[in-house]
Assembly symmetry: C2
Homo-oligomer: 295 residues x 2
């Protein structure tokens, strides 16, 4: 990427994640905030109907509707399938240039601080992440494989990423997290401007990155009902090591269930509300360090 | 009330408040837990369809459907209006005795610990509350006037009350709060048993009670959109004094809005997710102490 010319900032891909919804409103009402001399920004409200109803989605999760086959499948006509095709046309206009960068704003009930979720280890994204994570210890960087993330909205761009902020309930604005998220977005925009001017700020020697390796479901009975909760010792411990034999769940009868993995992992999305229906109690990651010289 | 003969424990009056839903499931699967020699208990799932969809409600808030006029209004036929009439028949059977006590289990995104919400200052409820609040500092006791609470499910009984637990997001089980809620319910049942045996445990000399006096909405623009968030200094400060000129909201532009009331109040339900649509940023209470001799 020689130059960033266009940036899309998306809020409300999930209609009940209010930080993104209200940041998008703020940016939409104050375009100067997200405008820089060397590129233009566009604000997109991901799921307008879900925003109106303050629900994650109407028919299905919009942020799972962006696989190339699904976008080309004319039979898929749910509200979100249709909206995904509209968003594709907005961000990758058939008679125009595709947007260079997509920033998709999310929140989570998990204690993930200010997480940057990359869809690839593109060197541009890694350098950006290294810069942003140097600004605050709360900034963490995750990456998921193509097989996992090719359905996300931000996968429409090679330089797409999500900002996932928490812990905050669905349907709630937390002023402190709102302000931190705004600062992070504006810092990313400042970075793009500096990049375009060939004035990239100094970045740390190494970047810690959490690579998605899989997910764990809640223990369930034959009817699919959950039989245990996240263990109190694990609640809010996103990005902390989970070692073999550590308590991971607690049944409703008070029985501890221990992690039966063979090696240490770093869970994220622990107790995310929207993931109960997806069969995910937490996602597992491996922690690795990328040295600056490799960026 | 000479003797408590029947107790109803209701979970899932709001389908996305999972503590109540899963406690009701646990009690339903283990009736011994809620059975005592001197009374019988009945478990009711308030809003089955909303529980299935993990939403607060389907058509309208079930916990606002219990006014006497509405229950008698045959024209009201939404899912929740119909369900309210069914619940009335279950708890106040036309050919049987009404249930003596109703315990309705709720959660909130506000930091309300283990709150007991009374529909009246009935001496029996005050003594029970004094006992339960002596068990843990996290137990707080609130009371709202009839004009406010006559629409609640628990108002079907003179001895109805709600347990409101938080902070916990909608759609999330927090194991620690689940366990504390269960202990509180079982302690209430033990109290009823002791009451029936005329072996009432000692209660403190005084009970602190928070009386509902009104609610404050978010600042909104002409279109009804909110223009400010709960101030970070006020977030999670339920039951803490709010004094005149204390910061209460923060606009999206970072402007502080101060409380313009004339005297100190004690806010509860601060930043409750479900209250954005109701026009409530927080409820205000006055704190008072009832001396034991008056109980």
């Amino acid at each position: 990427m020689d130059k960033i010319s266009t940036v899309a900032i998306v809020g409300g891909t999930h209609g009940n994640e209010l930080t993104g919804v209200y940041l998008a409103k703020k940016f939409n009402n104050n375009p100067d905030l997200v405008t820089r001399p060397s590129f233009s920004s566009q604000v997109v409200f991901g799921n307008p109907k879900a925003i109106e109803e303050c629900r994650r989605y109407i028919d299905k999760d919009l942020n799972r509707c962006f696989s190339r086959p699904d976008l080309q499948n004319a039979i898929l006509s749910s509200y979100e399938d249709t909206r995904a095709k509209e968003i594709q046309k907005i961000l990758l206009p058939p008679q125009g240039l595709p947007v260079d960068v997509i920033i998709d704003l999310h929140t989570t009930t998990s204690n993930m601080g200010l997480s940057i979720l990359l869809s690839s280890e593109h060197p541009f994204l890694l350098r950006l992440s290294a810069y942003l994570s140097s600004l605050s210890d709360e900034v963490k960087v995750c990456c998921s494989p193509k097989s996992q993330n090719a359905v996300y909205l931000d996968s429409l761009s090679d330089l797409g990423f999500a900002i996932e902020v928490g812990a905050v309930p669905q349907g709630v604005l937390n002023a402190e997290l709102f302000n931190k998220t705004e600062k992070l977005v504006l810092a990313a925009l400042d970075y793009f401007e500096a990049y375009n001017r060939r004035e990239i700020p100094g970045i740390p020697n190494a970047l810690t990155i959490y690579n998605y390796t899989g997910a764990i479901d809640y223990p369930r009975n034959a009817q699919g009902e959950i039989e245990a909760m996240i263990h109190p010792k694990r609640q809010f411990q996103d990005y902390q090591p989970l070692n073999p034999k550590d308590p991971i769940f607690l049944t409703f009868d008070g029985q501890e269930i221990l992690y039966d993995g063979a090696s240490t992992v770093y869970p994220i999305f622990i107790n995310e509300a929207a993931y109960y229906e997806k069969g995910i109690a937490m996602c597992l990651t491996q922690k690795k360090t990328i040295n600056y010289s490799n960026l």
